[in-house]
């Protein structure tokens, strides 16, 4: 260390501290809790897709006609694609701890940029893959039940799905804007 050349340095270093220490046992316990939190976050990301895939798998096996099988096959393929993309684009990377501050700030910004790109393009990797399944389902249903009342119900259901897609897209666009604000603040803070 340098010889203290400035009295403010001495004032800073002489300030009273509480001498807070953590026992090894406490550290191990808190570190394990942290690891569990990370693990559950990762599990949560995949479990909903897994349940949906199993459900669609059951429908695929028990379906009586070809169009229904194609529908559920397309839904399963979409789920697998979404999970793959979630893993590729969405998984949070852990910050390397022993790097210098500049590198760590750049890592943090790159992570935010990656997350922003994922939510900004949610249409292409999250919503669009579900569209073929819904289209085939609609066609199959319309062929199986050629009655105006059934078609009206179908239009209502497709309308609800379209609204749901729109809401998901808008929420993600908003999340992308929020991430962009954080990136701008980080740029200003560097």
């Amino acid at each position: 260390m340098n010889e203290l050349e400035n009295p403010v340095q001495k004032m800073w270093q002489d300030q009273p501290v509480e001498g807070i220490r953590m026992s090894a046992e406490m550290i191990h316990k808190r570190a394990a809790k942290f690891e569990r939190r990370i693990m559950w976050r990762n599990v949560r990301e995949y479990v909903a897709s897994l349940i949906a895939t199993v459900l669609f798998g059951y429908f695929l096996v028990t379906a009586r006609d070809v169009l229904s099988r194609v529908t559920f096959g397309l839904f399963i393929a979409a789920m697998v694609w979404i999970v793959f993309q979630l893993h590729r684009k969405g998984s949070a990377k852990r910050m390397p701890l022993g790097v210098d501050t500049l590198t760590s700030l750049r890592f943090y910004r790159a992570e935010l940029e990656r997350q922003r790109a994922a939510v900004a393009n949610v249409w292409s990797w999250y919503l669009a893959p579900m569209v073929p399944g819904f289209v085939v389902y609609t066609v199959g249903f319309a062929i199986r039940f050629p009655r105006p009342a059934a078609w009206a119900g179908l239009v209502l259901m497709d309308g609800m799905v379209t609204v749901m897609f729109f809401v998901i897209w808008k929420m993600n666009v908003r999340a992308a804007r929020c991430l962009q604000r954080m990136i701008d603040e980080l740029n200003a803070a560097e």
Binding site: P7, M11, M22
Partner: protein, 177 residues
Amino acid sequence: MGAVASTQDELYQDAASLYGAALERLARAYEADPEIRRDLLQDIHIALWRSFEGFDGRCSLRTWIYRVGHNVAASHVLRQRRTRSQALVGLEELENLPDANSGQQVADRSHALNRLLSLIQRLKPLDRHVILAYLEGLDAASIAETSGLSAGNIATKIYRIKNMLVRQFQQGGPDHE
């Protein structure tokens, strides 16, 4: 595995004994709220312990500890920015603040320390890193190693820090009690 864990524990114990007070001062400079500061300090200690699993001795223990401490604390500041609206400033803006002593002398050491902390807590993460490292007595080369900034950049920042400290504290400041 057992030997690694033991080394990890030993390294952490050494780090906490040698640099525990410096880490506490660091946490104080990054978080004003005492409750949140205690959590931040615990997070720093846990990150430090976890980091020793990958410590390969390519830099000194002190450099490693300061890097980990500042990284955790800077991430904390950036997360807190979502809920706190005060803008962070650079050293050049602090350098241009009006002299604190021109109207009212810095009354005592505790007052001066609080004022110093409030100035530091307004700084952007990298500038905060440099001023804290300077206050802890690290030389320019060590500050460059822990912050990732170039030596020239560090020299400019230290020049500004010294100017600011003289203007804010040493004209009737803590050495004039």
